[in-house]
């Protein structure tokens, strides 16, 4: 049997010392999943507490540590790395026709740095956790909290370097290593999305790094620049924190949008409508995303005039996202739609991301935000985007490229079932939270007035269904590694360089390095169709021949 990247070297060392971007992607897949589980379990625990109005399961200090753990795990250890480090790492060199990323050793280093950061976070957990929220606001985090803030902040600080190295690799690779003939406007939109994300990462993450470093120094040395006792401004911390953390939400969603672009073209068997608009909208989101951070701070005592500026630009930043949604919808229109797991994730994303985005506009309106700030409305808004958007994009992408990454098909029935469970569970969890927030229930509270119980019960029930929807893929995807049907090069009849190489690909991605002559998403060209049919037949015949002659 021909060697592919999975079989080329079977020792532990060949995996832990690999330079192969595909293996590194798999290493990330395992670690990212582990941290997702930790963050998910934390959420299930505090949702259990919220079944009843009284704080009867946890004392407030424990409750605070649970939602902080959930936030830190999900933001820094799942959402930021997941799509780029798993799917981006795996696919980008293949999509641009290269043998690997520009800096394979830095790529491996980024995984090790991520693991070390994760260990720091686990140490913080073992030390009892942190109760400041993932936002670490001063002066509580710098002076008054008695929890493992330093370890947690160190974990996030180190994780930032992992993120930066990945981004650096992507930027350079896309600029210098594209295959002959692969101009920028022939690139898959997945690559555009990751390029824009990488720009955000290198411009924003260092500011978080210095902010957390200063916070850590203040905690350790007892004096610092956010310390009101020295005349420091605690709100300065928030400015510097959100300078990164707002663009961070675009780091979390843009790659998933890139996944959706790829999947929607395949689901509709049609090229993405308005390619240039979708490509440029990624860059627009990257730039505008840096100019809106004050919308997290409308009620902090920030200047009213700054509030105006941030509010206005926050309205503007919705536009490129809307452009994407319109173009994806137009792609589906009059497309030749196949109903399968992948299509379900695409449609789920489109609906849920739209709701999340629109509710962001309510929050961007200062007068409304004064009432909704720090309520469950905000929680629902960002979960619609982060979970309804990013996680669905990630899960969809894992399913879409599973045959390519592993050479196996997953059982379609269970794929559809979990997509359905995730969609239903998600809405049941988070829609009631919009109502709760509107009615005034504050976030990060372990107890609440009796009249909110019904909605909280619905939300917890939804969380259970959602958890089930997440757990199922864990089982059937692992099952498929051994028992799944073997995948052909292009099981979805998709268009893209990754579908022209074998499933799984060889270590250096291609047997013959490609030269690109066709536009992206060349679904419409008749020649492309004919070529695809001929290629598929030929490849199936060769594979059958190999299988017959192999042991």
């Amino acid at each position: 049997m021909k060697k592919n990247y999975l079989t080329n070297g079977q020792t532990v060392a060949s995996w832990l010392l690999t330079g192969d971007h595909k293996r590194i992607a798999m290493l990330y897949l395992v670690s990212v999943t582990l941290f997702f589980l930790v963050g998910g379990v934390a959420a299930l625990m505090f949702r259990l507490e919220l079944l009843t109005p009284k704080g009867d399961m946890f004392i407030p200090e424990q409750y605070n540590r649970l939602f902080t753990l959930h936030g830190v795990m999900m933001v820094f250890f799942f959402l930021i790395p997941a799509v780029p480090a798993v799917l981006g790492n795996f696919l980008i060199p293949i999509m641009i026709g290269a043998r690997d990323l520009a800096f394979p050793k830095l790529n491996l280093a980024s995984w090790y740095i991520y693991v070390i950061a994760g260990i720091c976070a686990i140490i913080a957990l073992i030390q009892g956790g942190v109760d400041t929220g993932w936002t670490f606001y001063t002066p509580y985090s710098s002076t008054y909290s008695n929890t493992a803030v330093t370890a947690a902040v160190l974990a996030a600080f180190i994780a930032g370097f992992s993120s930066i190295l990945t981004a650096l690799n992507f930027i350079v690779t896309v600029h210098t290593m594209r295959a002959p003939g692969l101009t920028w406007f022939r690139l898959p939109l997945f690559v555009w999305a990751h390029y824009a994300t990488s720009l955000i990462i290198i411009l924003g993450t260092p500011v978080l790094a210095i902010t957390l470093l200063l916070l850590g120094l203040e905690r350790v040395c007892g004096v610092g620049i956010f310390d009101p006792r020295l005349g420091g401004d605690p709100i300065l911390f928030q400015h510097l924190f959100w300078f990164y953390s707002h663009p961070a939400v675009y780091i979390m969603v843009l790659p998933a949008m890139g996944v959706i672009s790829e999947m929607v073209a395949c689901a509709a068997q049609k090229k993405v409508f308005g390619y240039e608009f979708v490509a440029f909208s990624s860059l627009a989101i990257a730039v505008l995303g840096f100019l809106v951070w004050g919308h997290h701070m409308f009620v902090t005592g920030q200047s009213m005039y700054a509030g105006f500026v941030f509010s206005f630009i926050s309205m503007l930043v919705a536009i490129p996202s809307a452009i994407k949604v319109f173009n994806w919808t137009a792609t589906i229109y009059k497309g030749s739609i196949v109903w399968n797991t992948v299509t379900m994730y695409v449609l789920g994303f489109l609906g849920l991301f739209t709701i999340g985005g629109l509710t962001g506009l309510f929050l961007a309106t200062i007068a409304v935000d004064v009432h909704l700030h720090d309520t469950y409305f905000v929680v629902a808004h960002f979960h619609y985007i982060m979970v309804g958007g990013s996680v669905m994009g990630y899960l969809g992408g894992i399913h879409f490229w599973w045959p390519k990454m592993t050479g196996r098909m997953f059982p379609e029935f269970f794929g559809k079932l979990s997509a359905l469970l995730v969609f239903v569970g998600f809405n049941l969890t988070f829609f009631p939270q919009f109502v709760l927030g509107y009615l005034g229930m504050p976030r990060r509270y372990h107890a609440y007035p009796d009249e909110f119980q019904m909605l909280n019960v619905l939300s917890t029930a939804g969380a259970t269904v959602l958890g089930l929807g997440y757990a199922l893929p864990l089982f059937y995807l692992i099952w498929s590694l051994k028992y799944g049907k073997k995948a052909s090069n292009n099981p979805w009849h998709a268009y893209g360089l990754e579908w022209e190489t074998s499933s799984p690909p060889p270590t250096f991605n291609f047997d013959v390095m490609p030269v690109v002559t066709r536009p992206a998403y060349d679904y419409d060209t008749e020649a492309a169709e004919q070529l695809a049919k001929v290629e598929d037949k030929a490849i199936d015949a060769i594979r059958r021949e190999h299988e017959e002659t192999a042991l």
Binding site: R229, F243, L291, W293, G294, A306
Partner: protein, 132 residues
């Protein structure tokens, strides 16, 4: 391979220019220029930085892509500054007894009582934070 032309002479001239600028920076600080002192000092520093980037770091001879990245950091830092000071420079309009307000400048004493508590502190002790 092409024969590499030595740029030692250029480096030395830029170096001398940089030394002169350092002396100028120190000199300018001794002249009472009021509000102009800070912008002038920063302009001199930017000039030095530009010379180092353009000549010592060879950006002059690099592709336009590298040129963009060379100045991207400073460009982005200015975004941080502009929007940060969107808040701080306009707060005085909306807050009373604000530390940066003009009424407090030019004095070496603390602002008036009842403000944000920036009183001359009890020395030596790490006094617990004032209720804010």
């Amino acid at each position: 391979m092409s024969h590499h032309e030595s740029h030692v002479a250029t480096y030395v001239s830029v170096y001398i220019a940089l030394l002169v600028l350092v002396i100028a920076t120190v000199g300018v600080a001794t002249i009472p220029l009021g509000a102009l002192a800070f912008p002038i000092a920063i302009s001199i520093a930017f000039t030095k930085a530009f010379l180092i980037i353009w000549i010592f770091m060879h950006v002059k001879n690099e592709s336009s892509l590298v040129k963009v990245f060379a100045f991207l950091g400073i460009g982005w830092m200015s975004i941080l500054f502009v929007f940060l000071f969107c808040d701080y420079f306009t707060r005085a309009q909306t807050m009373a007894d604000y530390p940066g307000a003009w009424s407090h400048r030019g004095r070496l004493s603390a602002p008036a009582e009842g403000g944000h508590g920036h009183h001359a502190d009890h020395p030596k002790s790490n006094a617990e934070g004032h209720a804010h």
